[in-house]
């Protein structure tokens, strides 16, 4: 037996998880960037010039941060979820289960890779939107904080979904009936102030609303609620799901019998 280097285990798993999506970057990065650009083209074209948001922003300019965030969220989720489900179905997860990696190492690696994929997709989408509108950077630090937090949240949820789902269609259920509606209805395409009172109130229970709203504040210095409230809500939600994910990993939920 050779003496192991502390910390090398989780760094290797992180590296492997990054390689897993990077080797098929056309599917995992380029494809979602294209999807986001299509949204921007269609919605921007239809709604451009019909309204101003916050009384000064064109619809396209308003839409961009939300679209970037939505792409990041969906891809961070997809990364950890599909990696886990796939290796469960292929059976290759056993090679990880046999290692001394702790639940913290698993968590760090899967969520870390999900964050990286989310940020890469987000950067790709943002780069292309530069052709459509001149960006503002009112509070860049908030942009970074909410980008990281959003990806971490979704990477963690993806980890939970990946542990829970035994088949791809179960994961698709999770994605289509929970993640998609919650991201779509979080204010990507509109300011919640344009909603009727009931829906405005309901939006405030959606953690994704706070992520997108806080992220948008970083660009425009204007938002539906204070970025500090968004930080508290989104951060609190992330801590909650992280505690759950760590507990599931520690007890080997559905991966150790």
């Amino acid at each position: 037996m050779t003496t192991p280097t502390p910390g090398a285990g989780w760094r290797t798993l992180l590296y492997k998880e990054v390689q897993r999506f990077w080797k098929v970057a056309f599917q995992t990065i380029a494809a979602p960037v294209l999807t986001a650009v299509l949204y921007l083209l269609v919605f921007g074209h239809v709604l451009e010039g019909r309204m101003l948001v916050y009384d000064r922003l064109s619809y396209t300019a308003f839409l961009i941060p939300g679209l970037v965030m939505m792409s990041m969220l969906q891809n961070a989720f997809a990364n950890s979820a599909s990696s886990l489900v796939q290796s469960k179905i292929m059976g290759s997860l056993v090679f990880l289960l046999l290692t001394p990696l702790s639940h913290w190492a698993w968590f760090g690696a899967y969520v870390g890779a999900a964050i990286l994929r989310g940020l890469l997709v987000g950067a790709g989408v943002f780069a292309i939107t530069l052709f459509f509108a001149v960006p503002e950077f009112a509070a860049p630090l908030w942009i970074a904080v909410f980008a990281l937090l959003g990806c971490a949240m979704m990477g963690t949820l993806g980890l939970i979904a990946g542990l829970w789902a035994d088949k791809f269609d179960q994961m698709a259920t999770f994605q289509n009936f929970l993640i998609m509606p919650m991201t779509f209805l979080s204010g990507v395409f509109y300011s919640i102030h344009s909603l009727p009172g009931f829906w405005q109130g309901l939006s405030r229970f959606n953690p994704f609303f706070y992520m997108i709203d806080g992220f948008r504040y970083g660009f425009f210095g204007q938002s539906d609620v204070s970025p500090w409230l968004s930080l508290a809500m989104a951060g609190g939600a992330w801590l909650l799901v992280s505690a759950l994910a760590l507990q599931l990993l520690r007890t080997g939920y559905k991966i150790r019998s």
């Binding site: 050779t2 192991p4 090679f95």
Partner: protein, 305 residues
């Protein structure tokens, strides 16, 4: 020193039809440097026992240690010392052979392990496949990669769960040569297999498992001695008389009947003649592990429901 210690291990699965006792109070100590065989029919609980050792499953009661480290409470130290070749043929399609081994090595905290990885590739006949993707490899080659993955962190305890199931003769020989060499260097080996001639050739001690319980635990030499010492073997197309049929093992035309001694053989032949059986190519040979295995399993049939 004890390499692997199973202490009163029970494992119960709750199923819709009621509780299923996969393992019942199994206790077993494997000493450092042993080549130990775990035998038993399908469903006897061999893989469940290995899974508990590996941390893939949790025992319902009892504990397992690897070189003194509890596989639950001190799992990190225990797994660092264990190299397990799982039974199912599985692989990660994203990586080639060398990448797969480098990753596996990294999970165990070993960064610069290329010298040993090269040695593994060489010893297992994988050197020319090092940059091939796992998808492109044949079943036998994938199996070799799994063996290399299990050994990549130089574990003092090596566990092989049916490593030669569905594998060609060449790999079996390469594999056993290599494992025997590692055993000589001091690695402890725990093997489960259906190929009893392999167990007989390699293992110094065996345990036989049936319906979740150990029914025999013995040194290989003693086990072979303790059984009926001879076997009467012949070929025939005739049906065996009812008095003999339950004792016999029939494979197509080949009939094998365990016998105590020469007098017993004579009686058997006389009984066969009386029953109208015309034996051809008669031979008398020493009992091997397969005969012992069948005897043990049959003895247990009546006594232990």
């Amino acid at each position: 020193m004890t390499a692997v210690s199973f202490q009163s291990i029970s494992k119960t699965y709750t199923t819709p039809k009621g509780d299923f006792h996969a393992l019942q109070n199994v206790s077993l100590d494997i000493e450092v440097g042993e080549f130990f065989g775990l035998l038993g029919p399908n469903g006897a609980g061999k893989t469940t026992l290995i899974s508990i050792l590996a941390g893939l499953a949790r025992a319902s009661s009892g504990r397992v240690t690897v070189l003194g480290h509890d596989v639950q409470d001190d799992f990190s130290a225990a797994r660092q010392r264990l190299g397990i070749v799982p039974q199912e043929l599985v692989f990660d399609p994203f990586f080639n052979v060398r990448e797969t081994l480098q990753l596996q090595s990294g999970y165990f905290g070993l960064k610069n392990n290329n010298a040993w990885i090269d040695e593994l590739l060489e010893s297992l006949g994988l050197a020319d496949k090092a940059s091939a993707n796992l998808r492109q490899l044949s079943g036998g080659m994938k199996r070799r990669v799994m063996v290399a993955q299990a050994l990549v962190h130089k574990p003092p305890v090596i566990v092989l769960d049916e490593p030669t199931a569905g594998v060609d003769v060449e790999l079996r020989q390469t594999l056993w040569q290599f494992i025997a060499q590692l055993n000589k260097q001091g690695h402890t080996v725990l093997l489960t297999t259906h190929y009893l001639e392999e167990a007989e050739a390699l293992c110094s001690r065996v345990a036989m498992l049936k319906r979740g319980q150990i029914v025999t635990l013995s040194r290989m030499d003693d086990l072979l001695k303790s059984a009926s010492s001879t076997v009467l073997q012949f070929k025939t197309d005739d049906a065996l008389p009812p008095a003999i049929a339950p004792r016999a093992r029939v494979t197509g035309r080949i009939v094998q009947i365990p016998a105590q001694d020469a007098a017993d053989v004579e009686q058997l032949l006389a009984a066969l003649r009386q029953g109208g059986v015309r034996p051809q190519e008669v031979e008398i040979r020493r009992a091997d592990l397969e005969d012992v295995f069948i005897q043990v399993m049959q003895q247990q049939q009546g006594g232990n429901p």
